[in-house]
Symmetry: C2
Subunit: 451 residues, 2 copies
């Protein structure tokens, strides 16, 4: 403890904390002290004695303080296309809408989209997002100005030739550790069905050489797994193994097509590999399966929560992903006792933090961790009475109950007011770009979807 | 048109309206005039000319005006038990938690619960709810004071003897048409597994004699259908037919156990029978099926949206039911093209209105209908940009985006502020009741769950 005033003190809250077995408990009437962007202390019970001196004080009575949510896989700038391709099949979604429109995408579109996305996420209690897109310099610039934390990767296809991979590497090297450490980076090959084996192997080599993690879509759905087996005799997960991708730290998006034969492969990469689940889109596309969370947990693989892009998910609402993950896992395993609210919160906190490579940095309210904190108001009629704080958070509260969002000790939203982004200005500018962006008359697309 | 000032005029909104084929369209820059609790006109396009004189004016630019949501099946006072019985199987939920606790229930508990529930629903844009519970006099009193619309039924089991049925009838007769017509009533036998055939037949007879509809749980899940077949050789739906229940107007809650053989039975009651779906709880209990909405629509049966009680659903959020119905129907039919956003809105509006027997009274913004209107703000970053208003409403907006809730022309919530209910006072009073209510040491329960 320093003698100088702290930067921020939060008092009177219910603090979600993890014990040394990673079990979630709630400290009543807690006080959280933040200094230099770091959590200095979390203490439960009436503080008694004199108040703690701090430059800023938040009275959080009636609110839960918890680690900020982490969106483990998204394409933030795609908020621009929210609602553009509705009620269509996966292949139509790619080939008839998203990839033709993305061939019009300018750096300005990406910047505007990223800004709107960060506004949505900060308002929804997301303090970190893992992004996988194009023109990522623009996204990094928005992250710098918005104050959010991000794990960024420049996506590439083999159809771009070696230049795609090289650009992804350059981005990862240029931006890692930027914005005072708020930005971390990854290599971002799109998927085994769009990046060939040689390119994946070269990517794996770069990852090892530069100590970079990899963020990739794989076995997104059952179709992709089956087509891969037919064409190559191996599953997409086995492709990741054969090409050396699984020898690095790797974040796999979706994995709803993960088969039983993939489990030992993933188990052998335990500690390096994590899966991000974004269940809303799987339902919306009518996919036959969801991420096999239970099977992955049984072999010790972390499963982080995600939203995917808003062009398929329609929101960047990780809170909804948390609730849906609990519901869909109960439903698909036909076991209401499994994926309890505390398990859902464990996915949302430590597992998500580890999935984006920040397992020692964020994901829990503990001394020494970065101060990424959200305050959730439980006073609304829809969250009362509170018999079980974990259940209230997962099954009754919504993203709109987040009142305050703090990243690295800086308040980015206070009492629902965004402090770093002007939403109306972004929306107005975006509106002007729309006609050019949405034009599909040219017949081009950036890539074909043909798993 | 009268020459005297209207009671309320809403200007500048996007109005959700139905055409004569019940297709949903959106009128831009619409003006809605309300007089004597009724919608007098809905006109699109710039009004030009002089403004309409009205006692109250709401400038709703940037907001969608749509029919208030209808919760077609709930047990409103059970909000008191929100989060009490988590992560358990259906039989444990009933036998170990809910039915023991409900044996402690006082009229005061029901009143407090109903008041909190009405607060939650009004804040979530629900203007009508169909309630199926005990001590319904208390619920009716809360409906009167809160200003919401309700379709109420006093629940009964055969274990109560004929007195249960008689009380249900008395309630329905005493309260029908009360609160200026905002209250309608139904007979409310609990379910075919708790109300025996003779009792159901007598109920059907009362329904005919007194021209009352019936609101009942039936074939809630697949287990119930299978047990009914084993024990009685008929499905729960066939029981409803054999006992004459299907000869009256009947609202069936859940129906996730409806089998193919039930479809012709239901088809023969088309126009009288509707089903209420509350998909969140089916997922949470890990039930193997959901309401077969597509099969029901194919035979012309209306499916209304519902939440069930908050002890299983954890909220009374019909907005969430709308989104989940779209997602789960796409998922279970494996057809992303089906249950489009417009179809979801049709379920939420006209189908739900018909399900609660108010198909000519509410459910659309049309001249002559009661003025049950909600205003939904689309300015948030999570609902921008708007490429497709229907998709924005169903897949991006949340209940918390409802800014204003109007029932019978009376504003019950304005700019998120509840005008008829003091939530903090209800919560405080409820807290005092909790120890007595939650006591399960007595070993009693109001009924056994044994399908």
């Amino acid at each position: 403890m320093s003698d100088s005033p702290a930067d921020l003190v939060i008092t009177g809250c219910i603090a979600l904390v993890h014990d040394d077995q990673e079990r979630i408990t709630f400290e009543e009437d807690a006080t959280i002290v933040v200094r230099d962007g770091v959590i200095e202390s979390v203490t439960g019970g009436p503080t008694g004695g004199p108040g703690i001196e701090a430059a800023d004080h938040i009275d959080a009575r009636g609110q839960v303080a918890m680690p900020g949510l982490i969106n483990c896989h998204t394409h933030a700038p795609m908020v621009t296309l929210r609602g553009v391709a509705e009620d269509v099949q996966t292949d139509e979604w790619f080939n008839d809408y998203v990839w033709p429109i993305e061939s019009n995408l300018t750096e300005e579109d990406v910047e505007l989209g990223a800004r709107l996305a960060c506004a949505e996420m900060i308002r929804g209690g997301v303090t970190t997002f893992a992004d996988h897109y194009f023109s990522m310099d623009a996204v990094a610039a928005v992250v710098a100005e918005a104050g959010i934390r991000a794990h960024l990767g420049e996506a590439f296809f083999s159809s771009q030739g070696p230049a795609g991979r090289e650009k992804s590497l350059q981005f990862a090297l240029d931006h890692r550790g930027k914005s005072g450490g708020r930005i971390t980076t990854a290599l971002a090959p799109h998927a085994p069905y769009t990046v060939d084996g040689a390119d994946l192997a070269a990517t794996a080599e770069l990852a090892r050489e530069h100590q970079l993690p990899i963020h990739i879509h794989a076995s997104e759905n059952r179709d992709q797994a089956e087509v891969s087996l037919e064409r190559h005799g191996v599953t997409p997960i086995e492709v990741l193994q054969q090409t050396g991708i699984l020898d690095s730290d790797v974040l796999i998006a979706h994995g709803t097509g993960i088969l039983d034969r993939d489990l030992p492969v993933l188990a052998s990469a335990k500690g390096r590999v994590a899966v991000a689940t974004a269940p809303r889109g799987y339902l919306k596309f009518g996919w036959p399966t969801t991420t096999p969370v239970r099977a992955l947990r049984e072999i010790g693989i972390d499963v982080g929560l995600a939203t995917d892009g808003a062009a398929s998910n329609n929101s960047l609402d990780v809170w909804e992903s948390m609730a849906l993950t609990a519901l869909i896992q109960k439903s698909t395993t036909r076991d209401p006792r499994w994926l309890t609210s505390r398990q859902a919160l464990h996915h949302a906190t430590l597992q998500s933090a580890r999935a984006v490579g920040l397992g020692e940095t964020i994901g829990s309210l503990a001394p020494g961790r970065r101060a990424d904190i959200i305050l959730v108001d439980l006073a609304g009629p829809h969250t009362q009475p509170v018999h079980d704080v974990a259940a209230t958070l997962v099954h009754s509260a919504h993203s709109s109950d987040v009142r305050t969002t703090i990243v690295d000790g800086r308040v980015l939203m206070r009492d629902r007011e965004l402090l770093t982004i002007d939403v109306a200005a972004v929306v107005a500018e975006m509106g002007e770009r729309m006609p050019a962006l949405l034009d599909r008359s040219h017949g081009r697309r950036i890539q074909d979807y043909n798993t």
